[in-house]
Symmetry: C2
Subunit: 431 residues, 2 copies
């Protein structure tokens, strides 16, 4: 089975090394003989961590895709073009494709799945969501009959590392981000990670395969973690919660779906609360199977290459049997807007500690049908606080987002409310 | 796709109900049309939770297997016979088989896999290990190229429930077992659960598919939890560990394997430590992918039926394509005896608190090359303790089991050692 590899960064180099080392065992276990035949790179002269026979390298990716001696194409270039055209050409030529490209699949995945089905070959993408964790295959195969109605995940290792350091070491957001950059977890421009775009792309792919409904990156609601404070995390912990950046995909009884990424308070005995450092985990709520969680390394050259290699073996085995794994029917998604979602909320207000203020604030909640589950009041004695300032922390019962926003708008206009602090959704028995 | 179901207990009844309810969605997503055609039961007149058309019921299981209108057989009878002969007959007749039968597979699995391969049809068994958790498919497919060298799991929900109650509520072993029996988690005779036989059967299957080496139930070393005390758990917690019953399958560099079930101290920040109540989880250490964990419901009618149904869809889809999933080559296992395994140990001794006793005890450890990582000494003031009794709790560095046994044998002969208490292995960076 001759493999053409498009791209040779971290993941590509790890894949070449892994195939070189594991090919004999793979042959023995599966009967599939793998060989990397050509590798498309941007520069022939770049230094690489893994020694690759220079005779395999080419800068002409299109020649790999059209080469009749290549049986199977692996795409680890990333980004939409030229990856999209190369994959389409490979599929049209009857070559199965394995890709780790979340951006591509979160934007034009369904179009590519259709091309693969039309060509009767595999398009596999385990590595595109949560790196080395086998989640795509269980959702596509093991759970296809399950009627999954929620998938939520910690699918960005950089932000989970930052939140873990803020939570366990008391570091500020800035200090934790700087350390993540030093360790190579975060880019110099960390926007894609910390504002939730990376997690959102993965959530779109997860929703599409879990629900059979086409969701693209632009359909996902985002809030990032750059506004999260050590104080929020400390209060959360005192109330029995751990703060995590979650990607949440819901399907409702009317068939509509909602996909969103935002910080969330997770109860400390929830399995997602124990996912620390740069680890990822995907939590699945099924109708019959109940709660499932898949945990592991969501990024990194070798974990991602491991997922690619599992797909390569599968695609090669299918190809030799003349079969392929169809993604199944995918219908257009009916999206439910975030305003219409319901969850408990954590809300923090600063108020002037005057007679009747709590009654007035509670009245505003009640007028918008937002019911309060618990409230804590504490004096604020920081140097810049007003002398009679107090902080109120509320946890609401499950409430509609639109009602909570209306409540906050009205609270903002009260003379006694000096500022509105963090507003964080609470996850648990919220639907 | 006409299904013949052998057995209609909890899992079988849930499966009939699930197929009845989910068949339209399964058809829409996968193109596979499922119908339960006949159900073999022991008694036609038994009351069942799920209404089943009496015309489908038969007490003649062999007639289902030989019926040419049955395309696919599901076996949820359990036990070795008659399940084994029925499955063999179905495979020989070219019918794919889905089974949830761990006892069967842990004893004659490899023989049956060979029969399935010879017949060119599927024998799928996701439900046989850890119920609803997709672990068999990831090990067989996603991780086949990974070179997994350790799998460890909490694969018995009953014992995990008991240990959770002892740990979090301070219940005695007896009280927790009684509650597990009341809830229907534990049988009236709880031996198979509490002595680790159930976990051992699952561990044998896991080792066989993870390592491609044939391990049967009788190869698995067992220690149960009936000797675990609330005191052990409390000391463990103070030292930063949670006590769990683990099934551990190891493959070593020389190709030998060891499979065992025993209580273990798990560091409290290890993902397995957060697996509570009757939940199961399987932790996989791969060469490239690093640490993975799969978490969910390990038992119960619906979770198990969900796993069976995922396999049924897969087998039906393969059958219609004329393909099947081979288990791959399985070689005989070279077993490494438990005496030659190495891990850190937690050891508890009661001694007479006399001058020089600690030096003498430490000397015995040293003579057997068992190195001490930490020691705690406390006075014992229970009414029946000797007036100068003290308790010593040791955690060792990684030590060979045989050396630890020799150390304990020599300690037992010391006049100052009045008794040897718990001896519990510590899991973490032990290899």
């Amino acid at each position: 089975m001759n493999i053409g590899l498009l791209g040779c960064g971290n993941v590509g180099a790890a894949l070449v090394e892994l195939i070189g080392r594991r090919a004999p065992q793979i042959l023995e276990r599966t009967g599939v003989e793998l060989r990397v035949m050509s590798v498309a790179v941007r520069s022939l002269s770049k230094d690489r961590d893994v020694a690759i026979d220079p005779a395999l390298l080419t800068t002409d990716a299109a020649s790999i895709v059209s080469d009749p001696s290549i049986d199977l194409v692996v795409e680890v270039i990333g980004g939409i073009e030229p990856a999209r055209h190369l994959i389409s050409a490979a599929l049209a030529a009857g070559k199965p494709v394995v890709t780790a490209n979340k951006e591509l699949l979160a934007n034009v995945g369904v179009e590519l799945f259709t091309e693969a089905d039309d060509a009767g070959v595999d398009l596999l993408f385990e590595a595109a969501v949560a790196g080395g964790i086998p989640i795509v295959r269980p959702l596509r195969e093991s759970l296809v009959a399950e009627g999954v109605d929620r998938v939520m995940g910690i699918v960005n290792g950089t932000t989970n590392y930052i939140l873990t350091k803020m939570s366990e070491e008391g570091w500020s957001y800035g200090a934790a981000l700087a350390e993540a950059q030093t360790l190579g977890y975060a880019e110099r421009d960390p926007t894609a990670d910390v504002e939730g775009y990376d997690a959102g792309a993965k959530a779109a792919i997860i929703a599409t395969i879990a629900f059979g409904a086409q969701v693209v990156a632009g359909d996902v609601y985002h809030e990032g973690i750059s506004g999260v404070t050590v104080d929020d995390i400390a209060v959360a912990r005192r109330l029995g919660y751990v703060l995590k950046l979650l990607a949440i995909a819901d399907r409702f009884d009317d068939g509509s779906v909602a996909v969103r990424v935002h910080p969330a308070m997770v109860p400390e005995d929830h399995p997602l609360a124990a996912v620390r450092d740069s680890f990822n985990a995907v939590f699945v709520q099924g109708g019959a199977v109940g709660d499932l969680m898949f945990y592991g390394r969501g990024a990194g050259g070798y974990p991602t290459a491991s997922a690619v290699l599992g797909d390569v073996v599968d695609a090669a085995s299918n190809l030799s049997k003349g079969s392929h794994a169809s993604i199944g029917s995918i219908v257009p998604a009916v999206l439910r807007p975030v305003d219409e979602l319901s969850t408990p909320y954590y809300l923090e207000l600063e108020v002037l500690d005057r007679h009747g203020v709590l009654a007035e604030v509670a009245g505003v909640f009640g007028a918008h049908e937002v019911s309060i589950r618990s409230m804590e009041q504490e004096a604020i004695d920081t140097p810049d606080a007003a002398p009679d300032a107090a902080r109120l922390v509320f946890i609401t019962h499950t409430a509609r987002e639109a009602d909570v926003r209306a409540t906050l708008a009205e609270l903002r206009d009260l003379a006694e409310v000096t500022s509105i602090g963090s507003v964080i959704r609470v996850i648990g028995n919220d639907r």
